[in-house]
Symmetry: C2
């Protein structure tokens, strides 16, 4: 783990209330780290529904395979997360570990095997011995309590320099419900020691297909709109649990995604997902600046997002921001390389509210001094208008610093 | 320009013979640099044919547009190249500059306007004033001489730490012909100060469509198989000229791409293209190691190349090599993110001849000490066998070092 906390870390952490129907416990299993927790268990009340979104990697980890298989049942009772070892590219041994862990968790939670969900994060290719922690699950489920969100956020960290929390309370029918989320990054930055995991839980009563629909749509403008270094982890996992406990207090039971009572919940969920995703970017390894890239005027939203990601993943754009250099020529380069419809002579580029390029050339009113002053900020906004259509997209990333190279290049030495 | 020469630079430069029908001159036009040449003119004998391959950027520079337009004629008499300013994203002014330069070059070379070819490399978005050098063209064409390849290679440099040359002599029918090439990089590393330009000339007599066919096929395993930072320049230009002068000495005149007498020439051309492309990679900004990535066993060659490029462009793989870390988990990650058919459990990964992973997990015979020793070399080979089919591809890149970030991040400061 990094010695110093990211300068972009939140100034304060939110106080995480309990979520009715969710109990949490953590432990020091000593999987890799010493003197810190590395095992986290969430136990859910009977009737808890679940939705999930996973890495698009063609080489997913064993726990991702395990979760994908269980997601079909739509029901969750136990979540087990370990840090220190990703159980990725571990072959038959990896599958054996998820089987043993899953069985131990089902026994501990007194539930069916397909009501267990697993996530692992840490080194790739190193066998993860279930014997290190499977025997702890029974005790953890037993002692799990309604609080514990703060501890949960810490137990799942790897190269993160701070734990990531978000919470919201929102009306759903005749009662208020709570949504809590935790995440760990730091981006896809270091898949051998990090990955993107996020767990969100609510006491709302929402059917699994509705949860899945909301989550799938919600990630497009949150977790799937952030990038640190374009490197996709084998293990990215986002799970959303709904215990339904609030129904006893009068909260609406939702089983139709078009139910109008769901609108405030959906907005709150999307805010939480975006909040957590941005915390991941701000903890990107070596990050000193957050970069928001908005593309408008594209042929389609899909095209806009591809162009935005080409800019966000460009090492030259990211190093320029690190150097506080308003190098819009590199933005032109990145637009050009995206392979999407673009017309050089219709392009406008903005840094913050300053239009630096317009109509295929440098803006006549361009001021080097004004733009340079803007580049000194912590959060940089890059805007590109393609002038072709109405497609738009926004993505977030961080700058590329020498510290990134040091962390990822000097890691084993 | 960088102060120190890349440690991967060639130990010695080849002696470049003249190419009959090609005359060269250079000048200090003072476009941006002081105390060095920044303008290069090649004058070709009447009857010279030409082929070209250009950037795939959707925002190409004005000279790229200009060359593409003239390429249809298949005939070349004058090439004008400047360094210091890319004339890219310069709008109407940029087109005006290519028009003025083209007319001045045609007048100087006593040829048609569409027999002129232009290339510019340097800053993006800064208007390039043709008045700085158009008046020099007449004198340059007049004084151009048969030698001058060494000077030509230097005049086109931007952030390159060494000039790039390659030459070959090969039989074509009843006589020997010469092929000379020069290139500048340093990769697509710094499109605001660099780009990939290469100019190859021969005294062989080869029809333009045949040249174009050979060049198009030749770039797939050379210039289009190298990457420094995945950032595609607005200005990449590769031109191939054939003066036909050797026909007077008995060299065959070729107008059919299937002519069997062409085979040795084609092989020599491909060697030159690969040689120049590798010199560009070895001069990648901050590069300390060359990386060759070979993918075999893919569903198709196209699929193999996409996977190879995903590995080559992964910041995590490149920083691991910089840190001399045999981090094959990051190679698995990059295979997974490529989006191409891959089966984790059939994957084998090699560093040099050492198989580090096999059958979905770490190789049982893996030796950390042996692999770490291998990683200390200057040139690292990464092999991936997918075990799915017979598609294969090889690409080349360099490592990602703190020096890269320093060069590209601290550039303006």
């Amino acid at each position: 783990m990094s010695a110093s906390v990211s300068p972009l870390a939140p100034k304060r952490f939110p106080k995480m209330p309990p979520v009715a129907g969710v109990r949490i416990a953590t432990a020091e299993a000593g999987i890799k780290y010493k003197g810190r927790t590395d095992l986290m268990v969430m136990a859910f009340d009977p009737g808890t529904t679940v939705a999930g979104v996973f890495t698009r990697s063609k080489c997913p980890s064993a726990p991702v395979d395990f979760c994908r298989q269980n997601l079909g049942g739509g029901s969750a009772r136990v979540l087990v997360v370990n840090s220190g070892n990703a159980n990725a590219f571990t072959g038959m041994k990896g599958r054996e570990t998820t089987r043993i862990t899953g069985e131990a968790a089902a026994k501990a939670g007194d539930c069916k095997a397909d009501e267990v969900f697993l996530a692992s994060t840490g080194v790739i290719g190193e066998p993860l011995d279930a014997g290190r922690f499977a025997h702890l699950l029974d005790g953890l489920v037993r002692k799990a309590e309604g609080g514990g969100w703060a501890e949960a956020g810490k137990a799942i960290m790897t190269t993160d320099t701070y734990p990531k929390y978000a919470t919201a309370t929102v009306r759903l029918g005749d009662a208020e419900v709570t949504i809590n989320g935790i995440a760990k990054g730091a981006g896809m930055i270091a898949p051998d020691m990090a990955t993107m995991l996020s767990f969100v839980a609510t006491d709302a009563a929402i059917a699994a297909p509705v949860l899945q629909d909301m989550l799938r749509k919600g990630v497009g403008r949150s977790f799937n709109a952030v990038t640190v270094d374009s490197d996709t982890s084998t293990s990215d996992t986002l799970l959303l649990f709904a215990t339904g406990a609030a129904a006893r207090r009068g909260a609406a039971k939702i089983d139709d995604p078009r139910d109008p009572r769901l609108a405030p919940f959906r907005r709150a969920l999307n805010r939480i997902l975006k909040n957590l995703a941005l915390q991941v970017v701000r903890d990107g390894e070596g990050a000193r600046k957050e970069i928001e890239i908005s593309v408008t005027g594209a042929k389609s939203s899909r095209s806009a997002k591809r162009i935005a990601l080409a800019i966000a993943n460009s090492p030259l754009v990211k190093t320029a921001v690190a150097g506080e250099d308003a190098n819009w020529g590199r933005v032109v380069m990145a637009v050009g390389k995206a392979g999407e419809p673009a017309d050089r002579d219709l392009l406008s580029i903005f840094f913050g509210d300053i239009r630096v390029a317009h109509g295929g050339e440098r803006d006549p009113g361009y001021s080097e001094a004004e733009t340079s002053a803007y580049m000194k900020r912590d959060a940089i906004r890059i805007g590109v208008d393609l002038g072709l259509g109405s497609g738009k997209a926004t993505v977030w990333t961080c700058d590329l610093t020498k510290e990134y190279v040091a962390i990822n290049g000097d890691y084993r030495s």
